[in-house]
């Protein structure tokens, strides 16, 4: 019981910290901006976690969908001067529709083929954005994307207001992700990840479930992309580049793929690390690349997974001491 209590306290503390954070750094727009960007990437990485971490399908088109979300919002608000909130909703819907279309085709392929297929689709989206001058502004990008329209007395002109807006969407995204993973649907995804054949034998419709999981993940990317566009107010084809998807993947792996808090931990860690290593901008991949390899070999479940593993080990050792319950392991062998 007290374990749950601890867990809850930690979450509450984190939320309170996130709420108070702008008050501490009220005069420092830079810190707030980095934090807000970190939150946006976290939303996107949560999406990637659902398809890659829980359903076990490595989709490398995630940056492409992030870009579709960003460009949808950008084009809708600059070209048609649509209301921001309507555009945001439409951006998520457009991205999801694109995801549905791609997922229906791409998910017929398996494992390596799926990864290669999505990598190439992601690259194709990048090329399309880069070359389709008339719609996307090509290499010059889209300039002058407006900030969110005010809702009643709330306006989003200050960095603090944008921070709270993004925080709201982040908390919503995490909440939805937790609800999905802890539900029967989440169990179904995990069953598919562990063995697709076995899941099928159990009567799970793997096709439909994989597709739904893919569309959810893409919707996260679309939302994150749209928020990104309105925060930075300028987007170029780079948001769809393969480097972007590799970054997302790095955040996910280091944080902990297939864990609920991994995306948050990994993304915030790297976003801040990148800021501290700013002067080595071009070379930070020299360290991050090997980190990715080492993590995959030695800590495949990332920081969060590793933490739980160590915790489980420690608790296992503690059991013989206050041996109130049945202990299946003889006391002799556990004492070392």
């Amino acid at each position: 019981m007290d374990k749950i209590f601890n867990h809850r306290t930690l979450i509450a503390l984190l939320v309170v910290f996130a709420l108070v954070f702008p008050l501490i750094y009220a005069d420092n727009r830079y810190v707030l901006h980095v934090m807000t960007i970190g939150f946006i990437f976290t939303i996107s990485v949560y999406g990637m976690n659902i398809i890659a971490g829980f359903t076990g399908q490595l989709s490398l088109a995630h940056a492409g969908f992030f870009a579709i979300g960003a460009y949808s919002l950008g084009i809708l608000t600059t070209r048609t001067e649509m209301n921001f909130w309507l555009a945001l909703l439409l951006a998520v819907l457009i991205t999801s529709a694109a995801g549905l279309l791609l997922g229906a085709i791409a998910l017929r392929t398996k494992e390596h083929f799926f990864a290669i297929y999505t990598l190439i689709v992601g690259y194709l989206i990048y090329l399309l954005i880069d070359k389709w001058d008339g719609l996307t502004g090509g290499i010059r990008g889209l300039i002058g994307i407006p900030i969110p329209d005010p809702i009643g007395p709330l306006n989003f002109e200050s960095a603090t207001a944008m921070y709270y807006l993004v925080l709201f969407f982040l908390l919503l995204s995490i909440f939805i992700a937790v609800r999905i993973v802890r539900s029967l649907t989440g169990r179904t995804y995990i069953a598919i990840r562990n063995s697709e054949e076995l899941a099928q034998t159990l009567g799970i419709n793997t096709k439909v479930n994989k597709l739904i999981s893919f569309v959810i993940s893409v919707a996260y990317a679309g939302l994150a992309g749209a928020l990104y566009a309105s925060l930075t107010r300028f987007i170029g084809p780079d948001v769809a580049s393969t480097n972007m998807v590799f970054n997302f993947l790095m955040y996910l792996i280091v944080g902990g793929i297939g864990t609920l808090s991994g995306p948050l931990v990994g993304t915030m860690l790297f976003v801040w690390l990148e800021q501290f290593l700013r002067s080595y901008q071009e070379y930070h991949l020299l360290i991050f690349g090997p980190i990715l390899v080492i993590m995959v070999i030695f800590f495949p479940t990332g920081i969060v997974g590793g933490f739980y593993r160590i915790k489980a080990k420690l608790q296992q050792k503690k059991v013989p001491k206050d041996n109130k319950y049945f202990n299946p392991v003889p006391a002799k062998s556990t004492k070392k």
């Binding site: 392929t109 290669i116 190439i120 070359k131 690349g289 390899v293």
Partner: protein, 287 residues
């Protein structure tokens, strides 16, 4: 007509480079069932090593290529030993992620050592020859000639030597190969060495035409994947045919459709093929 012949020739050059890269990729996939995303990094390093050996020591182009082959082959073997071997029993998603880590590392390394500029590789083969209205630089002829020779030698090696036969055996039937006492580690290292050597040759041959720069591996590796999937994962004849077909299609597409969108042709081709046949053309259906 002249234009057409010219494009056929250019297409063959392009296709030769794709073929060389794709054979390495398909060999590794056939043996270890890893789609080696880091293959592009080997290609990249191969190009830079050749260029740097040439400019630093002033040796002949061919000697520089041999140096590059050695360096990249050793690098590929190290990659297998240090990264893919420890991951052999992990879920398939981990190999891919590790390979991506390697790509990030090598690109950053190349930028650190040699900078981000586009560099020219000057070779003794930049003179023009005109045959039947088709103008060709000797470099392009060299690309095709070397590719033919390399593919020929590789086939000889695979068919006629014990080592080559054991690579083919393992590609055909893993368990069977173990039963007759084939050393899996040796075969894996050998395969990576060959694939690295092929990447180095391809990069060294293509660089005088395409320049040397940190992102040079990106497009080539993606297109090599297209080739490998069209040709069937693990099939060498498939890689050769598909490589040439892709080279010709791109060269024709660039001339007769649109130069801007020429890079998309390969990817659209792949998307159509995988949509119709999710396992690729000529797939043996085992993987």
């Amino acid at each position: 007509m002249d234009l057409f012949l010219q494009q056929v020739f250019n297409g063959l050059t392009l296709g030769s480079v794709y073929t060389l890269v794709a054979i390495g990729l398909t060999l590794v996939f056939g043996i270890l069932h890893i789609p080696n995303f880091a293959h592009g990094a080997l290609y990249l390093v191969g190009g830079y090593v050749t260029l740097m050996v040439m400019s630093a020591t002033g040796v002949h182009y061919f000697i520089a290529i041999i140096a590059s082959i050695v360096v990249v082959a050793v690098l590929a073997v190290l990659m297998e030993r240090l990264v893919f071997h420890p991951l052999r029993n992990s879920p398939p998603i981990h190999d891919k992620i590790a390979a991506i880590g390697l790509v990030l590392f090598f690109e950053a390394l190349v930028q650190l050592v040699w900078g981000t500029e586009y560099l020219r590789m000057l070779t003794p083969f930049d003179n023009n020859i005109s045959v039947a209205g088709v103008s060709m630089t000797s470099q392009r002829i060299l690309v095709i000639a070397v590719t033919v020779a390399v593919v020929f030698l590789l086939t000889l090696f695979l068919k006629k030597t014990m080592m080559g036969a054991s690579i083919l055996a393992m590609a055909q039937n893993r368990e069977g190969a173990f039963l007759v006492g084939i050393n899996a580690n040796k075969v894996a290292m050998m395969t990576f060495a060959i694939s690295g050597a092929l990447a180095a040759i391809a990069a060294s041959l293509a660089s005088p035409i395409n320049l040397v720069f940190p992102a040079m591996g990106h497009l080539v590796i993606l297109k090599a994947f297209v080739v490998v999937i069209i040709g069937g994962m693990g099939s060498i004849p498939g890689a050769i045919i598909a490589g040439l077909v892709l080279g010709l299609t791109e060269s024709m597409g660039a001339t007769y459709i649109s130069n801007d969108y020429k890079d998309m042709i390969a990817f659209l081709l792949l998307i159509i093929i995988m949509t119709v046949r999710p396992k690729g053309l000529f797939a043996k259906g085992v993987y």
